[in-house]
């Protein structure tokens, strides 16, 4: 993934409306963060994946696809190779870290809907924390920039 570094920004916050079509804003925003803060390519992939799965989940289930709501995403650098995304919404309480996962066979056989996105999110989020807020949810996800060298097995 090659980041588009031609457009720089200091705005480390993204506000996404409750519309799945607006998730196209996420990729260019992550690319701008990557340029500004030297985020490695593998970490960008993980960030994009987690954001797509979590944001689409909030829009579909938290907001029931109703327009007029929003989700706030904030980026910050903890230290070199340690990056943080904080996602806040105003949906009913939902903790994606403790939600039971469907057996993988049932998900793949199409017997039951859902679960795949949350499973992927948990696989790619390095270290996540959920907080139930007054009138909403906050999910903080830390990503470590280190990654296995080519040829090394990945978890």
């Amino acid at each position: 993934m090659t980041a588009n570094c031609a457009v720089q920004t200091s705005k480390d916050q993204l506000i996404v409306p409750s519309d799945l079509d607006k998730l196209t804003q996420v990729l260019p925003w992550v690319e701008r963060m990557a340029c500004a803060h030297a985020i490695p390519a593998h970490t960008q992939f993980a960030m994009n994946l987690c954001l797509e799965e979590i944001l689409s989940n909030i829009i579909r289930y938290g907001y029931s696809n109703e327009p007029g709501h929003s989700i706030t995403v904030r980026y910050s650098t903890i230290s070199k190779d340690d990056f943080l995304l904080v996602i806040e919404d105003h949906a009913p309480p939902f903790n994606p870290l403790t939600e039971p996962l469907l057996p993988i066979e049932e998900t793949l056989e199409g017997k039951r809907e859902g679960g795949l996105g949350i499973r992927l999110f948990r696989s790619f989020a390095g270290n996540a924390k959920y907080e139930s807020m007054p009138g909403g949810n906050r999910l903080s996800i830390r990503f470590l920039g280190t990654y296995p060298a080519p040829g090394e097995p990945i978890a």
Binding site: L23, H42, N48, F124
Partner: protein, 111 residues
């Protein structure tokens, strides 16, 4: 997101996925993938240019794999980058269709 099709010897169809298979990308190729699933017997998916794969894209691939196999066909994928391969393994999709390194290995599975 683009999808290109090449017909090869031995009734094998190569499907080249080029771009990001996120929500929008999956929607863009869903129809073509369904047509392939319903009409082709031996399918090799070329993932060398697949830059991103999310759960919506995975569902598209799972549907194609299940349909091809239910019709007595065979399907395999090759060339996925390290991140995409992790998505395939973490989701368990590699239990539905073989994920191999290169084109020759994928073709060998069509025999």
């Amino acid at each position: 997101m683009q999808l290109l099709i090449e017909e090869l010897d031995g009734d094998v169809t190569k499907v080249i996925l080029d771009g990001r298979m996120d929500i929008t990308g999956a929607q863009n190729v869903d129809l073509k993938m369904n047509v392939i699933a319903g009409s082709k017997k031996y399918v090799v998916i070329d993932a060398q240019k697949l830059a991103f794969l999310g759960s919506m894209g995975l569902r598209t691939i799972v549907t194609v794999a299940r349909t091809v196999k239910s019709r007595g066909g065979k399907i395999a994928m090759f060339g996925a980058n390290q991140d995409v391969e992790k998505v395939l393994k973490m989701s368990g999709v590699n239990t539905l269709l073989p994920i191999v390194q290169d084109f020759q290995s994928a073709i060998a599975l069509m025999q």
